[in-house]
Amino acid sequence: MSFLVNLALGLLFGAGLAISGMADPAKVLNFLDLFGTWDPSLAFVMGGAVIVTFVGYRLVLRRDRPIVGSNFHLPARNDIDTRVIAGPAIFGIGWGLGGFCPGPALAALGLGATGTLAFVPAMMLGMWAARLLAEDRMQTKAV
């Protein structure tokens, strides 16, 4: 059941990415090109998504718990450590080079462009490396 609900929500998310134009890295790169062929569309995607989520979360989080599971998994941290600076800095450079962040890269996967087929496996490898390195650090700290 959770698989099917997640499949439906993934379809909604992916359709949102496709309709908003974000599956096209050229649109993203043009948003990031303030001094060239600027296309403000991405700001409207972010704006629409943040407004709906802001209102929706406030309604949903009035509940004691989600429909499935005993509690909401909300990030509790609010400190600024080196990881929350270094990670986004590395991510932003890659985003500026390729025009893909993780969601749109997955949405573009099935469209089969050569650049996407190179990008997505590398992205998955990078994600895995970061997870393993983070785990390794946590274990070192615990010892």
């Binding site: 609900v5 998310f13 949102g16 600024i80 986004p88 991510f91 985003w95 650049g115 990078g126």
Partner: protein, 142 residues
Amino acid sequence: MTEFTPYASLFGGAMIGLSAVLLMLWEGRIAGISGIAGRLMPPYRDGALLSRIGFVIGIVAAPLLIGWYSGNAIAQTVSSNVPLMILAGLLVGFGSVWGNGCTSGHGVCGLARLSTRSLVATGVFMTAAFATVFLVRHMIGA
């Protein structure tokens, strides 16, 4: 040049937001794609792997279904510079997981929660991306 699409982009963005809200309602999780995709690989810490596989299949399938239904493939222009795209993919994958979130987890869900960490993260990745495109397009001239 790409065409400025305020209405389609606002509407598509609202769909992304709705998906994030419903995921929170259903199983109490943040719709962060780097978190979801990054946990497709081991180690597996919770029982949510099947859910994550479902969500990712949905994202991959949606543009194909739209293309099939409308009869027009989704238009896109992707760099065919393979070494560049591999480098970009490694940086995006590593950086987004190292920083605990990407455009969706920090940029959408985090900002909607008014999280300071997400505001900082979003400011940093936006600045880095603007600077990178400026360097590539206007300094190097690629």
